[in-house]
Symmetry: C2
Subunit: 182 residues, 2 copies
């Protein structure tokens, strides 16, 4: 279980679980409750965010939380129940940067199997260059391509997405990039 | 909690949890453990699958499991920890249809907020028209566009994906479609 804290107790009845392959034709070990037979599945999480742009600049946020405190990132966070990937990306852009945007198309879908995550980023046109970052952000600032602190980017998925964004901006046409990073 | 069975007990210590907004700046109710302070997050799940094609036909699977027993679907299932979206889609194609494929590009990314899911489908070129469906599939069969049992398709995301596939096949160019279905 390299991803998260192992499940120790059943969410349904509280009994101690055991990790084993269930008897229902499954092929993977799951946390199974010996008392009430509940099978607990653990699956990848989606992180949803945006590339907010203003002229030739993009908006980055300096992280005020771990992991990667003090590093720069695109506004993004865990997708919640009850929202679409696009709605989650818009919500995170508001929460982390306090930025007003018009949402655009999907730009990247990047799997990170090492941590059990999929990161999805959308283009987002900034409607103002005034930001009101939330408590998870030290500073929100606009950067042109040659100003981006490439060595201080918090996550590989953010770096890959920014690289695709600037490449596509130069050629004047945006694609949708499906990648995997280690 | 319209999505899943509520969490009743803490996965860490087994104590009964309470649903409340945590004190860490969060804005949503979570299952919080009053004994050990563990916060339990519940997030959307990814379903990953393929559009396996052979000439002008696509491969559909007749479901041998609930929900939608007996309806037709594309091979797809829940993404697992430790794999990419593409790897998961290939795995499900093997497990559900026993189909040998060469994986192609991403075709659709469809949010289903009502059930807390995101469905991702890839193009996949069939390498053979012989299939060995697994226990979750009654029958795996090839259908041309006018043979597809449109009224017997198990999920809206599958129908939307098939419609985009056949449209794009006619125009000779495949896009990546980001949609939301209710």
């Amino acid at each position: 279980m390299p991803f998260r804290t192992p499940i120790k107790h059943c969410r349904n009845c509280g009994a101690a679980v055991v990790y084993r392959v269930p008897d229902d034709g499954d092929t993977r070990e799951r946390a199974v409750c010996p008392a009430c037979d509940t099978i607990h599945y653990e699956n990848p999480l989606n992180v949803v965010g945006t590339v907010p742009y203003w002229g030739d600049k993009v908006l980055l946020c300096k992280r005020n939380i771990e992991p990667r405190w003090g590093k720069w990132t695109l506004p993004a966070g865990f997708m919640e129940l009850g929202e679409s990937t696009l709605e989650g990306a818009a919500r995170e852009t508001d929460e982390e940067a306090g930025a007003q945007v018009e949402m655009g198309p999907l730009l990247s879908v990047i799997s990170v199997p090492r941590v059990g995550q999929v990161h999805l980023f959308y283009l987002a046109r900034l409607l103002s260059d005034q930001f009101a970052p939330g408590h998870e952000t030290i500073e929100a600032r606009l950067f042109s391509e040659d100003e981006v602190p490439w060595e201080e980017i918090a996550f590989k998925t953010v770096k890959e997405t920014l690289l695709r964004y600037f490449e596509d901006r130069r050629r004047g046409q945006f694609g949708v990039y499906n990648l995997e990073v280690t």
